[in-house]
Symmetry: C2
Subunit: 239 residues, 2 copies
């Protein structure tokens, strides 16, 4: 499978943190690791194993301190964002990387972290359907769409949007043929057994059930975001 | 999010090995970890970190030796199956677990491992589109379908089929409402940017390109399977 590779022409930094939602990044990872001449960095505060919010534990390979400046910055979401939304050192790392990156990207609630770092204001972007209004609170022009491209910002919706997001990036940064070959290799020919993947198609009682389960998280996350908006009006104001 | 849970009513054993394709199991994992009263075991020969064929490294939590007999056995695929197809101890573990499990399941080329362990003969099953004929060589009734259910065998196609597979399992073993709630929570509303996810829809030159890239692997895998078929005609003969 592997032959001699020329020097990497693209570096992708995947930003990890405790209680990340693993599929937010493992889905795009499966696309990214098939891109030609691409170096992936699994970035974290330390090299300690990271436990996802669903319990899967995996290993980062590069600390924030040792990370090179990457070409594409990618931030997944998950329940762990609540802590990171108020972690100034973490947000400063995103800002430093994001201000120089060729592309600044996220899946799911990773967009809230990018916005908290001041990297999405003045851009159109999306996030998990449950948190669209929180992204708006942070001064972002919110779009309900599976994947949103606005100049060099590329953001995806909730969790599984990461596959579509990964393939969009493959097509944008490389070629359509490369993206199509990866799609065929990972047999991405989705056939959901139910019609319940978005609030536009799910039955009302299912939407209410998911909203009820998420209510506490949504409320506390809204409080955190209202607090950081109040405290840092400069960095998150419109560009 | 977590409240007091009654004793687990379902145990799922996810069988891991070096050079597994991570999305084969991380996609179903994201569904499984949201099922009520379900205990997941990440099973491996040892507790050493496991590197996937795409480079992501993660931690198993239970050795084969210490694994309980699980209710649902799940085997993902990946380039690492070639070694495991000839690993008698590994196959014996699958057989012991599979013969007593309520459900025996796979995604992608995990089906080849189940078949090599003698667990799919006499059943209809599927695998990654590139390897359907190899599954047939092993005496399995092969079906070209995203997810195939035949009695207590549930098999999915290549890599990303794991999401559909996971939701099918949620619907079969629990309720449609639980499956739909998980689908909405992970926003599984797929919108592939290209029409290239199966050999039925992909452009001819893309199919040829993926086949060319996979030729060496396919050839050597066919040789391994021809060898084990020749050597073990009893265990893999039709039931």
């Amino acid at each position: 499978m592997t032959t001699a590779q020329p020097t990497s022409s693209l570096s992708i930094g995947i930003v990890l943190f405790p209680n990340v939602t693993q599929l937010d990044f493992t889905a795009p990872y499966e696309v990214f690791n098939r891109l030609p001449n691409t170096k992936l960095y699994l970035l974290s505060e330390t090299l300690e194993p990271i436990r996802s919010d669903g319990g899967l534990t995996f290993l980062p390979d590069t600390t924030f301190a040792e990370s090179p400046l990457v070409d594409l910055l990618f931030v997944p979401g998950g329940s762990g964002i609540d802590v990171k939304l108020e972690d100034k050192k973490f947000l400063a790392f995103l800002k430093t990387q994001g201000e120089q990156a060729r592309y600044v990207t996220s899946v799911c609630t990773g967009a809230l972290l990018l916005a908290a770092a001041g990297l999405l204001q003045g851009y159109r972007a999306t996030t998990h359907w449950l948190y669209l209004d929180l992204l708006e609170l942070l001064g972002v022009e919110v779009v309900k769409q599976r994947v949103v491209i606005d100049r060099n910002r590329i953001t995806g919706g909730g969790v599984t949007a990461g596959i579509d997001f990964g393939l969009v990036i493959a097509g944008e940064l490389f070629t359509e043929a490369i993206a199509q070959s990866i799609q065929l290799a990972i047999e991405y020919n989705p056939q959901p057994p139910f019609e319940s993947g978005s609030p536009e198609t799910a039955p009302e009682y299912i939407i209410n059930s998911v909203k009820a389960t998420s209510k506490n998280r949504l409320d506390s996350r809204r409080q955190i975001i209202q607090k950081i908006v109040a405290e840092s009006s400069i960095s998150i104001s419109q560009k």
